[in-house]
Each structure stands twice: as C-alpha cells, then as structure tokens.
C-alpha cells in the first residue's frame, strides 16, 4: 500500500479538506485543524502535508478568489479526489474493524 499510506497529520489535513468542502485553502485548513484539535498548528506543516497529499493524488487544487484580508493574493483551493475519499474510507473501515475486535468487558 505504499504511496497511499497516510500519516496521522496527513489524515487530519485530508479530513479538514473534506470538512471544508470546496472552501479548503491553507489558512482555512490551519484554522479548522486548530479549532478541532484545540492546539496550534504550523502553516508550514499544513502546506507540506498538502503538497505530499497532492503528490499522492489524494487532493487536487485550483487557484481562486482573493480577498482584501489576504492583501489581494489569490487562494489555492483544495478538493479531495476520488482516491482521497477511498483512502479515508479505507482508514475508517480498518479502524472500525479494529474497534469491533476489541473484546467488550463482560
């Protein structure tokens, strides 16, 4: 499964992109993760993960709308690809299976 293996942080980023549904770009993703995890995240880490995910074909991106807040600079929007969705499903399936396999205390 090399190439589609997801690290923990990559998984978080992928999930954040999925949550933001089409409105995912660097700053928004960073905020989303910080909000969800209640801890601070480096923009560099997020972008590095995004770059890797895009390389693995789990994300695609397009350049789009600038806002005054950004000093007129454009955003790069990320969307989860089919492969990305599958990868998330796959992970979730494994996790579920493992959760079920935990013997219930009496």
């Amino acid at each position: 499964m090399r190439g589609t293996y997801l690290g923990e942080f990559e998984e978080l980023v992928l999930l954040a992109v999925a949550i933001l549904a089409g409105q995912a770009y660097g700053a928004a993703i960073t905020n989303e993760i910080e909000h969800q995890m209640q801890r601070s995240v480096n923009l560099g880490a997020v972008h590095a993960a995004l770059a890797r995910l895009e390389e693995k074909g789990l994300l695609t991106s397009r350049l789009g709308g600038a806002t005054a807040e950004r000093g007129g600079r454009s955003k790069r929007f990320f969307t989860v690809t089919m492969a990305g969705t599958q990868a998330l499903d796959h992970i979730r399936e494994i996790r579920n299976r493992m959760w079920i396999a935990i013997p219930k205390p009496a």
Binding site: G26, T30, S40, G44, H47, L63, R73, K75, R76
Partner: protein, 874 residues
C-alpha cells in the same frame, strides 16, 4: 487601524528570498490572512510571533526554489553580449585612432612613471629591511658637546661597545664597522680599495650577510682574516677558488688570509663593501691600545638587543655608564659625550648624522607625490577624452536603450571598455618600464632594480592598479553615457550639458596647475644648482689634480720629479682637500677675554705652499713660511669664522694669540678669508691650518695647465710608475670631487626634469584631445562667423582664448603653491638663490606656449576650413 498593521517585513523578505516563485503568491496570502485573524484574536505580539514561526516552518523542501522560472531574467554575464562589447570596443579604438592613441599613450606614460617611482620609493623605504633582526638592531651614535659647539657623530669611542656588552644584560651582542681605504695586492694586481671595511667577527650574527664559503663564526675572529664579496673574489682571483689564498694588506704588505666568500650585500644596505677585514687586525695588531680609548672616536657601533628589551630604558642608563668610564677624560677635555640609540631602519632615511650614503625622507615623499600627480593627470585625460567623445556614442547608446539595454548594462559596457583600455596601457607600460629600468637606475645613481623579472610583485600590483584606474576613471563617463535619454538622442538634437563642459574645463585646469607647479619647481632646482656651481667658493678648484701621493720623503721625491714636467704649474701636499673629509682636533685658543677657549675644530694639515696655490687670501698676519723655523711646530693659521667664534671683531686681533692643539703650542700667525671647504649646504665652520707632520699629507694637489691635460696626466703617471712600481696611481680632479657633494641634488634635478616633462606632455595630450573635440563641436559656429567676415586669425584667437584662460587660472593657483613649496626646499641650503620673479614669468610663458602650440594644429585647421563645407550639412 489594526488592518493596516503589517507583519514583520524582514520575515516577508526572507520568505520571498527562499520561496519558489510559483508558490509565493498563495503562501503569502495564507500568512497574511492568518496574521490578520490572529491580530484580532490574540494581539500584535502573538500574531507576529506566529507569523515568524510560520515563515520558518515553511522552509521545507517543497517550498524551496527548484522550478525554473518561466521568463528568465538576463544573466549578469552573457557570452554573446560580452563578445559584442569587446567587438564594439575594439572598433571604437580603431575608428578613432587619434583619440585612442592619445588615451593609451597618456595612460601608459603615467603608469610607467608611477611604476618606476614606486620601485624607487620602495627601494628607499626598505633600506636595511633585509636584516631579519632589523627591529632589534640599533646604531649607537654620540653627541659631543664642547664649549663652542655640539658635534653630532655617527661614530663612537673605541672603548664603548665592548664595555656596553659587559654591563648591559639587554645587549645580545654588538658589531662595529669602520670604512677604510686600504691597499690590497696579489701577484701583479694591486688596488686601493675604497670599499674596504674593518668589521667585528660578530658581523654575521647581527646582520643577515650570507657566507657562501667559510664559517661565519670564525671568518673574522683573528687578525689578518678577510672575507671577500663575490665581486671582489672575482676581481682578485678570477675563477680560481679564493678560500685560503693570501692578499697583501696595506703599505707594508702584510699577508692576510681569505677565510670567507660572501654574497654581495643588497644594494639597499647601509653596510656595504667589497672586502671585510677582521676588526682585530686593527685593534689587536695595528693599534693595540685603541680598545681602551674613550677619547678616540672611530667605527660605527651597532648593538643587537635581546628580544623584548626596551631601548628607551636602556638609553636612560647611558649617562651613568659614560660618567663611570669616561668621566675623568671628559672633565679634562672640557667636553660632554651623550650616547643615543638609533633604530637601524631609521638610520638611512631619518638620521642627519654623517654617512656614506643617506636618503632623504622628504625626497621620497616628493617623488611619491609626483607619481600620484602624474597618475592623476593621466586619469583626468582619460575621463576628459571619454566624456568628450560621448556625443559620438550618444546614438549608439540610444539604439541600445531602444532595443532594451538597461542603464546598468550600459554602464557595465562602458566600464568594461575603459578597463580594457587600461589593460592595453598596462601592457605597454610594462614593456616601457622593462626598457627604462637601466636608464632609471643610472638617473637615480643606484641599482634600484636589477630588471623587471625581479619585480613581479610590483607588476601584479600595477595590474591591480590598472584595473582599479580603469574602473574609477570609467565610472563618470559610464554614468554620463548610460543616462542619455534615447528619445532625445535619437532625434539627433543633442548637445553636451553645460555642467559637463565645466567639469572638463575644471579637470584641465587641475592638470595644468600640477604641470606649472612642476615647471616652476624644476626651474628653481636648476637655478639653485647653477648658483652653487657658479658660486665663488673662495679658493680655486680648476685644473687641479689630486694624487694619493704617500707621505714624507717619498712624496717629496715624487713632487720634485713632476715639478719639472711641462704643463705642471705647481704642487703642494696636504692631509685634506676642500669637499673631502678632514679631522677635527680638540683645540684651546685664547679668545677675546684672554681665556683659553676649548672646542673641536676642523684641521687642515698643509705644506708651506698650500695657501698660495689654492688662492686663499691671507687677510691678517702672514702665511706659513720656511723662513720661520718656528712655523713647523709653533704656528697656527685660522679662518675668519674661527676668529669670530673666538670673539674677535676684526681678523687682525686674533694674530699673535696663543693656541694649544694636538701637542703643539704657540701663536696664531695669520687669518685667511673664509672659503667653502664643505658644500654650500653648510655654513662655513671654524677652521685651523697647521703644517704637515712627517706621517701625514698624503694628498698631493697638482695644478696643471689647461692645455694638453691628457699628455700632462700620462707624463705624471709615468713618473709615478718609475718611483712606485708596486702601487696603483690614483687621482681625481678637484672640481669634480668637490661637485660630487651635489650629486644627490643633481640626481634630484634630473629626475624632476624628466617627470615634469612627462607631466606637461600628458597634460598636453589631454588638451589636444579636448581642443580637437571642441573645434568639431563649433564647426558650424566657425562657418557662420567666417561667412559673416571673420578672418582666420580672429577664429584662431577665439578658439585659443578659451584654453589660455584655463592655463591662466592654473597659473594663478600654481604660482603661490610652488613658491611656498620651493621656499621650504631652499631652506635646506645655507647659501641659496632667491626665487626670482622671472622664474614665474618663464613658467607662465612656457605653459602658455606649449598649450598654444598643442592646440594650434586643431584651431588653425578649423579656421582655414571652407565654411561651405561646414554649413552645407544643415
């Protein structure tokens, strides 16, 4: 207001620097957005902190520059463009041959002058520097104070050095050196060596003289051991091995053994000689008591201090040391000796004490300044000619700019061009320097350089300097040329700005100021030397031959034998001749108040007929005469200066007064008029005459007729050979000998004349270039004037006036400067000419004439031109 707060700029800059361009936009956007949000949520400090943190966190492989840029910028160096620049540069050189020639000639002449002067200055400044222990070597000099004057000696008492070494732990060792004229013989060869030295065995410990053969520790220990330089070894022994051979030393012909062969000392060593004889030959053999003498001065003593020893502290111990050893002697002779240490490296350039050869630190500075000025003139030429030519290149600049050349690209092109020109000049100047070094050596009177291949560090420096000059003098033209506006230039209506013209005129004025200053200086130096050569010295030096004639009966016999020769007028013996060295004697003479005044006085020991033959005037009393038997031991003659020192108002008062000098007591029998027995740089000192003892009076002055000098000379030489077959015949002409004192000044003059000529030559080159440029610029104006009826003379006058004005301004600046500087120079002479008004007039006329002659070629051509030609092109 918070919206306008910006994140730390440096962090943004950092990001822009490392980040790949295709990512920059979005990353900066994200950073900005987050910054704005955090500013709201957490405040400025936290926002900034996170911003910086994020910038650093983005420094990851994905963000670094790796993707090639879509539209590459022009590279700093592009081979094709450089090739184009070079091509254009060479085409420009070839197209404007006159300008190129003037430019390169001026620059290479300047560089050559600079190079040669730099060699000279370096030579002078590194005197004695070859000694690795130079910073620990000191010369012990002495001041001897008597009641009448203070004598400043470079020599010291014979007993001093060995006692110093015994008493002062700071002193590692010492070496004494005494120059002496000695006779050497081997087989048929015999030479009177002027450059023979007595030296202590420690010579090789203190100084870095290299022994090629022999043991430096023992080479000069025992008496009658000698070390030859390579040159001397070749002279005496040719190709045979000189080690262990014998040379016969002195008049008595005592055998001495060669125990070492030394590499010739460097040209800039203050200790220089061909033959080094062990000091003990003298101190342990010829004069056994001399090492205990405190009152007898001789030999120059050098001490080598131990590392870390403090020379100042050592000097403070000298008075007590002297009092301890020589106190009694000093009290008896009514004199006071002071010792002082002079650092070896300072002796040549800074010490004013007597020396065979001494440099003048002021001359070194003068030459360094001259070199810089010449270089400045050459650079100014370069700037002037290049900017003047800029009009012609304006169109090129316009086209280049139109097709997209940036200002910096153009500046670079012109800088490269000027550097190229400088490099060409550099190569020419290296060839010139190589050819001129022998001539320069002759001019300077010493081997400043053995050849250009020994001066590679200097060549490298000159190359660096050439590149630097190219850049520096190219900056202004490059700046001017590259700032032309293409629209104006290409329309064809283009004239140089008033500012540019003013600048060029200013620079020409500077050039001429320097040149005129040098002309005035040269004339003043020349008149001073002429003044000294023509000065009435108070004695006759013409047609006088001085022969080293031996002493006593031997000499008398020879004197008698030549007296009958045709062409010989008269002959007289003495121990000293004017312009040469004479000893000083401790003398006591009765002064005006009747006391015996003590002091060291110059002594001439002369034969009876010396005073009349030399044309010295006896102003009171009488001269020596054989009729008075007492004259041989009880008579003294003094000069007017001595009479004045003794307090006598008129010379007549001194006659009949008592004296006590060097074992003779008696009375003063006469006073002679003052004459210059030393150079005119010094005032006339008190002098005493006494008759010869049998052991001195080696110099025989022979006055000969002006005709058939050669025949007379060879007749005298024949007589010498029959009487002294074993001794060389050595002689000199008194006038040449006397004028030898001015050799340094004459060299100074010769060098100055040459470099002043060069300076004005380069200035004229610049003027020529400028004149030809300005006439071209005014072609149309001249045409119109001619049509309106101006004559050729009017036009020439009009064009020349501009330049004459510049020369006039230059003169107004140069005259006072030159006057001030040359007055300072003249202060070095006790007898000096004044700076006459005509010198300034001559300099002004000369400068004006040269300037007019230079530009006349251009102005006359412009004035003669048919106006139809110049006006047709409208």
């Amino acid at each position: 207001m918070k919206d306008q707060i910006q994140p730390p700029k440096w962090a943004t800059k950092l990001l822009r620097w490392y980040c790949a361009p295709h990512l920059l936009n979005e990353l900066e956007g994200d950073l900005h957005e987050l910054f704005a949000q955090r500013l709201h949520a957490y405040g400025l400090h936290e926002a900034c902190r996170r911003y910086v943190l994020d910038v650093f966190s983005l420094m990851r492989p994905f963000a670094l520059k790796k993707q090639p840029e879509k539209y590459p910028k022009t590279a700093f160096y592009q081979i094709a463009m450089i090739r184009n620049y070079l091509k254009i540069a060479f085409r420009n050189l070839a197209k404007h041959k006159m300008f190129s020639l003037i430019n390169i000639m001026g620059l290479s002449a300047g560089m050559t002058a600079c190079f040669l002067i730099a060699l000279y200055v370096h030579f002078e400044l590194t005197y004695d520097a070859f000694n690795t222990k130079a910073d620990r070597i000191y010369r012990v000099s002495t001041d001897v104070q008597t009641s009448s004057e203070t004598l400043r000696y470079s020599i010291s008492p014979w007993a001093m050095a060995s006692n110093m070494k015994n008493e002062f732990p700071e002193i590692e060792t010492y070496a004494r050196v005494q120059k002496d004229e000695m006779l050497f013989r081997t087989g048929d060869l015999k030479f009177k060596e002027e450059d023979a030295l007595l030296a202590d065995s420690t010579l090789f410990q203190v100084f870095d003289f290299r022994l090629l053969k022999g043991d430096p520790r023992t080479a000069l220990t025992a008496p009658f051991r000698i070390v030859l330089t390579e040159t001397a070894a070749r002279k005496y022994f040719g190709s045979t091995d000189p080690m262990g051979q014998t040379l016969l030393l002195g008049d008595k012909g005592e055998p001495a053994q060669v125990t070492g062969i030394m590499q010739d000392p460097p040209a800039n060593s203050q200790i220089r000689g061909d033959i080094f004889v062990s000091m003990s030959t003298y101190t342990a053999h010829q004069d056994k008591n001399i090492e205990r003498e405190w009152g007898s001065f001789g030999a120059i003593a050098y001490v080598l201090l131990k590392p870390g020893a403090d020379p100042v502290a050592l000097e403070k111990k000298f008075p007590a040391f002297l009092q301890n050893h020589a106190g009694k002697m000093m009290a008896e002779q009514q004199m006071q000796i002071h010792m002082l240490l002079e650092p070896l490296r300072n002796v040549y350039l800074h010490s004013t004490r007597p020396a065979d050869e001494s440099g003048n630190v002021n001359n070194v500075y003068v030459f360094a300044a001259v070199a810089l000025f010449i270089m400045l003139i050459a650079c100014i030429n370069f700037v002037n000619l290049t900017t003047a030519r800029s009009v012609e290149r304006a169109r090129e600049v316009g086209v280049r700019k139109a097709v997209g050349a940036g200002k910096s690209t153009l500046a670079r092109q012109f800088l490269a061009e000027s550097t190229l020109l400088c490099l060409l000049a550099f190569f020419i100047s290296i060839i010139l320097s190589a050819a001129l070094i022998p001539i320069f050596n002759e001019l300077a009177g010493k081997v400043v350089s053995a050849g250009i291949i020994y001066e590679l560090p200097f060549v490298a420096t000159l190359l660096a300097a050439a590149l630097l000059i190219g850049l520096l003098s190219g900056i202004y033209p490059a700046f001017v040329l590259s700032s032309f506006e293409p629209v104006r230039v290409l329309k064809g209506r283009f004239t140089t700005s008033l500012k540019g013209i003013m600048l060029r005129k200013g620079l020409v004025t500077v050039q001429f100021t320097i040149s005129i200053t040098m002309i005035i200086a040269t004339i003043v130096v020349y008149t001073q030397l002429d003044f000294m050569r023509g000065y009435d010295l108070g004695f006759s030096k013409d047609q006088t031959l001085v022969i080293q004639g031996g002493t006593d009966r031997e000499r008398d016999a020879f004197e008698e034998s030549i007296a009958s020769l045709a062409g010989v007028k008269s002959a007289t013996a003495s121990s000293a001749v004017p312009g040469g060295w004479n000893p000083q004697a401790f003398s006591k003479i009765e002064n005006k108040s009747g006391e015996m005044q003590a002091g060291n006085m110059d002594v001439y020991r002369v034969d009876y007929d010396f005073i009349p033959q030399y044309g010295l005037q006896v102003v009171a009393g009488r001269g020596f005469s054989k009729l008075f038997g007492t004259d041989s031991i009880q008579s003294l003659i003094i000069n007017e200066a001595a009479a004045r020192v003794l307090g006598y108002a008129s010379p007549g008062e001194a006659v009949g007064k008592r004296f006590d000098q060097w074992g003779r007591q008696g009375t003063i029998i006469g006073v002679v008029k003052d004459f210059h027995f030393r150079s005119l740089q010094e005032t006339i000192k008190p002098l005493t005459f006494r008759t010869l003892d049998f052991w001195n009076g080696k110099l025989l002055s022979v006055q000969i007729e002006g005709k058939n000098v050669k025949q007379t000379l060879s007749a005298i030489e024949n007589r010498w050979k029959t009487i002294h077959p074993d001794q060389p015949f050595s002689y000199y002409f008194l006038d040449e000998f006397y004028d030898r004192q001015y050799r340094t000044d004459e060299r100074f003059e010769a060098l100055f004349v040459n470099f002043a000529t060069l300076a004005i030559f380069i200035s004229c080159l610049g003027l020529l270039g400028l004149a030809s440029y300005s006439t071209v610029q005014r072609t149309k104006e001249i045409g119109v004037r001619k049509v309106m009826g101006a004559s050729a003379v009017n036009i020439v006058a009009l064009l020349s006036w501009d330049f004459l004005l510049l020369v006039g301004i230059a003169f107004a600046i140069a005259a006072p400067v030159a006057w001030f500087v040359m007055n300072r120079w003249l202060d070095g002479f006790a007898y000096k000419t004044s700076i006459h008004f005509w010198i300034f007039v001559a300099a002004a006329l000369l400068a004006a004439f040269v300037a007019l002659a230079t530009i006349s070629f251009q102005t006359i051509r412009a004035a003669m031109m048919n106006p139809v030609k110049s006006l047709r092109s409208e």
